[in-house]
Amino acid sequence: MSPLSRAFRGRRRSDADPARIPPGQYVTDDFPVLSAGPTPHRPLETWSFTIQGSIDEPVSWTWEQLQALPSETITTDIHCVTKWSKLDTVWTGVSLDTLLDDVETSAEYVTAFSDGGYTTNLPLEDATGGKAWIAYAFDGEPLAPEHGGPARLLVPHLYFWKSAKWVRGLELRNEDEPGFWESYGYHNYGDPWREQRYAGD
């Protein structure tokens, strides 16, 4: 490809429909890797996903069991609080509705927890209703460790720090508790369309 046509291609993205770009965001074609710690490398044989907390008995899925559940392929825009947005990203994974289907709980909040100690909190309402997934593939390929593989939470209607990388489970809570970035001053809810970057925004 000639340098000219590359430059032209690169420019096209800024013509993305402005209605799809939340306030203060810019569109990127890259997939920046953000990381606040070392990248865990979890062997699939020892991976599991657990729902615990306000529930009679915790429930767990092995990697194999997760793969056996009905999967969905989602095309969605993602918005990082560091101001990049990436349009039409394609993920494959299991809807949290599927995992929470048989769970009886009085909880109204969940904390996602991950290998490496990361946590993030969200209302249970935002984790259900076809709005959140455990994603294990990106663009049809297994999710790379630097992007949160083997599996990450995908909650694209909130800033992307809520889409916890290396996710291992959900803690169901009756009371909300701030996760990692939320406890350091980031917004508790994180709606990109209301530009809820920091506490008080």
Partner: protein, 92 residues
């Protein structure tokens, strides 16, 4: 992604503490390891800057810039030795 070392946050620590901090000893509240700030594992490519203990990888310091104000969280530290001021030059 590989971590940087504490020299990557030397500038911001100087601004916050008003002293050259890279030789200051930081003691991890989790494992008790003691190391100069220059030897911490630092991650810059995140919503904030995170400095971790090289021994146990616990979070020691988090710096988040919120609307032009940098907030420094030190809850992971047991102690951080800040060099005493030497007073006006010529007195030290």
């Amino acid at each position: 992604m590989d971590a940087l070392d504490g020299n990557a946050i030397a500038g911001v620590l100087f601004e916050v503490f008003g002293a050259e901090m890279t030789t200051s000893a930081a003691v991890c509240a989790n494992c008790g390891a003691r190391a100069p700030a220059a030897e911490l594992a630092v991650y810059l490519r995140a919503p904030g800057t995170v400095a971790r203990c090289r021994t146990c990888m616990s979070v020691l310091m988090v710096l988040v810039t919120i609307h032009e104000r940098t907030c420094v969280d030190l809850r992971g530290l047991d102690t951080l030795e800040i060099p005493a001021s030497r007073g006006p030059s010529g007195w030290g």
